[in-house]
């Protein structure tokens, strides 16, 4: 292992350790902020499999995130299932919905694909808002409690610090799996499709089917993120399915950098911290968001983390 890699893994281990013991050194409020960063980071990381790797912009990912949140909330409310079951169901649900919606969306590329994801996402939003007997309309699903975690673990999930650590473990495991997918031969094919789909098609790979796989896997991780988000906020509401929610992983990926694996996670941290800070003195968060997105797209397309990584790499090649 080269010295450079050792530094990267060492830094990662140090960050994870700091995150694990965060409840013992950070103020109480930041436990909530960190939980949100982790969950939305997973959402953005899953989204970026489609966006950064496969090169398709989806504006409907809130459908899978929100579906996961509703599944998790309803299982906890009606069946009082252990959390792990709710999470697994949310994961499966997100993946299945992505498979269904993706079946239509991947038939077309680029602009059409983006328009379709937005339209189907809004369909799921309308259903969440108007199918009152099941989804409780715009009030959403509330009043559930988070009991056991399951698999014999004795955890007090009502304690935010414990819930945070559970979230950390789940997100790190999921992110590790996602990383393995991105460096697998399958992940390399996705990346090649992002760069040049025609050439990939010439090698005999069924591009459309791989697009669908990418979309469904991405939806699976989004579903898991949603499944964690509902027990965290104690509500599953139509807001989580709205296109404004779909905009969040887009922004996080752009902020952090869509060309690196960790970019969306870093973007999530920047996003949530900015949101916490901005909303403390103005309600115009969305306006601010739009301006930041526009500036990033125009001047810093590779993202803050991506640009930093580029800069470090350049420096290293120059010095060696």
């Amino acid at each position: 292992m080269s010295a450079g890699r050792l530094v990267v893994w060492g830094a990662l281990a140090a960050i994870l350790a700091a995150l694990w013991w965060l409840p013992s050194w950070a103020p109480y409020f930041y436990i909530f902020v960190a939980t949100e960063v982790l969950i939305l980071g997973l959402f953005a990381g899953g989204f970026n499999l489609v966006f950064g790797y496969t090169g398709m912009l989806s504006l409907g990912h809130a459908a899978f995130f929100g579906f996961g949140a509703y599944i998790s909330a309803m299982l906890l409310l009606h069946l009082q299932t252990p959390l792990i079951l709710a999470l697994l169901a949310a994961t499966a649900g997100g993946g299945l919905l992505a498979l269904l919606i993706g079946f239509f969306c991947v038939r077309l590329t680029e602009v059409y694909f983006t328009m379709l994801t937005l339209a189907f996402g809004m369909m799921v939003f309308s259903i969440a808002q108007q199918w009152r007997s099941v989804t409780n309309g715009s009030d959403g699903i509330t009043g559930f409690t988070v009991g056991d975690f399951g698999i014999g673990l004795d955890l007090v999930l009502g304690n935010p610090a414990v819930f945070y650590q559970v979230t950390l473990v789940v997100v790190v495991l999921a992110a590790a799996l996602l990383y393995l997918i991105t460096i697998s031969p399958f992940g390399l094919i996705l990346r090649a499709m992002g760069e040049n789909p025609e050439r990939v098609a010439f090698t005999g790979i069924p591009v459309r089917r791989y697009r669908l796989y990418s979309f469904a896997i991405s939806g699976t991780f989004s579903g898991l993120a949603g499944g964690l988000f509902a027990p965290f906020t104690r509500v599953a509401s139509p807001d989580m399915v709205h296109w404004a929610q779909s905009a969040e992983p887009v922004l996080m990926s752009i902020l952090g950098g869509s060309t690196t694996f960790l970019g969306p996670f870093v973007g999530s941290a920047i996003f949530v911290l900015l949101e916490t800070w901005i909303t403390s003195f103005t309600d115009r968060w969305m306006l601010f968001l739009g301006i930041v997105l526009a500036l990033m797209v125009m001047y810093l397309r590779r993202g803050l983390f991506g640009t930093a990584v580029d800069w470090l790499r350049q420096r290293r090649t120059r010095s060696s």
Binding site: T109, E110, L116, R284, V297
Partner: protein, 288 residues
């Protein structure tokens, strides 16, 4: 018969409005190769300008009909010069992202300036009240909406086929490099096209103001609808936009009367069916 005629008239109202929005979307896409996610927001801006002019300042409707699209077009010129013109050479994803950012900015600005409450504007004197055909009552104003739709359609067709400016725009759309060589100021044309498309969206907003409630969600709603229209009709096709708009209008008009439970998902089912049978829309050509 009565319910059928009523449903038909409702379908036409909505279809014509959707046509006006979708045609602007198509013009911008056809020339700039940009899908304008902020198109619905510009339509909303037009409606709010109309509300300000008619409801707050007490100006006549006809003045608002001329002034509001000009205001929206002026906003569009600023946005194009400041932001959009920087990304024409980049991948299409960047233009999607940038117009999406514009959507957030305009949407939130509208909320900031006008608040979140719902407003209503009265139709102009002479277009109030209702008329009756086959026992179905319908607002007189909808006749004006249909006339405006025809006017916009015919006007644009004449503009693009008969006038010099229209031909220049088409030239810039088909070959940017060649247009530049023969002395066309392509950046200026692009600014003009974006302003034209935005102005039509603003016009749609004014026309819609007296028949639809003016609220902060109207932009997001119409953009989803107009995407369905161009997916059904075919992106970049004028007749496609017309056909798609009428089909979606009919889905809403008849669906809400005869299949009220399914009304919400019917447009998406229609879109899915078209996608399966003709992936590039009824009148669209496969992208090259």
């Amino acid at each position: 018969m009565q319910t059928f005629v009523a449903a038909l008239l409702n379908s036409l109202d909505l279809g014509i409005l959707l046509f006006v929005i979708a045609v602007g979307l198509n013009i911008i896409f056809g020339v700039l190769n940009v899908i304008n996610f902020a198109h619905g927001a510009l339509y909303m801006l037009g409606a709010y300008c109309a509300y300000t002019a008619i409801g707050l300042l007490g100006l006549p409707f006809w003045l608002a009909l001329v002034a509001a699209p000009l205001v929206v077009a002026a906003v569009a010129v600023v946005l194009e010069r400041l932001m959009l013109h920087r990304i024409y050479d980049r991948s299409i994803t960047d233009s999607l992202l940038l117009t999406f950012a514009l959507l957030l900015i305009i949407d939130e600005s509208v909320r900031w300036i006008w608040g979140t409450s719902i407003h209503i504007v009265d139709p102009p004197v002479g277009l109030r009240g209702t008329f009756t055909v086959f026992g179905a009552q319908h607002p007189v104003y909808s006749l004006f909406v249909m006339a405006m739709g025809v006017l916009v359609g015919v006007g644009l067709w004449l503009f693009f086929t008969r006038t010099r400016a229209g031909k220049v725009m088409r030239a810039a759309a088909s070959d940017r490099k060649m247009s530049r060589l023969v002395g066309i100021n392509v950046p200026l044309v692009f600014t003009g096209v974006f302003a034209l498309g935005a102005g039509i969206a603003g016009l749609g907003g004014v026309v819609a103001a007296p028949m639809r409630a003016i609220g902060p969600a109207m932009g997001a709603n119409i953009i989803v609808e107009s995407f369905i229209v161009v997916v059904i009709g075919g992106l970049g096709s004028f007749p496609g936009a017309f056909l798609g708009a009428l089909i979606l209008g009919a889905i809403h008009g008849f669906g809400s009367r005869f299949l009220p439970d399914l009304n919400l998902v019917l447009p998406f089912i229609g879109m899915a069916v078209v996608l399966l049978l003709k992936p590039h829309g009824l009148m669209g050509r496969p992208a090259t």
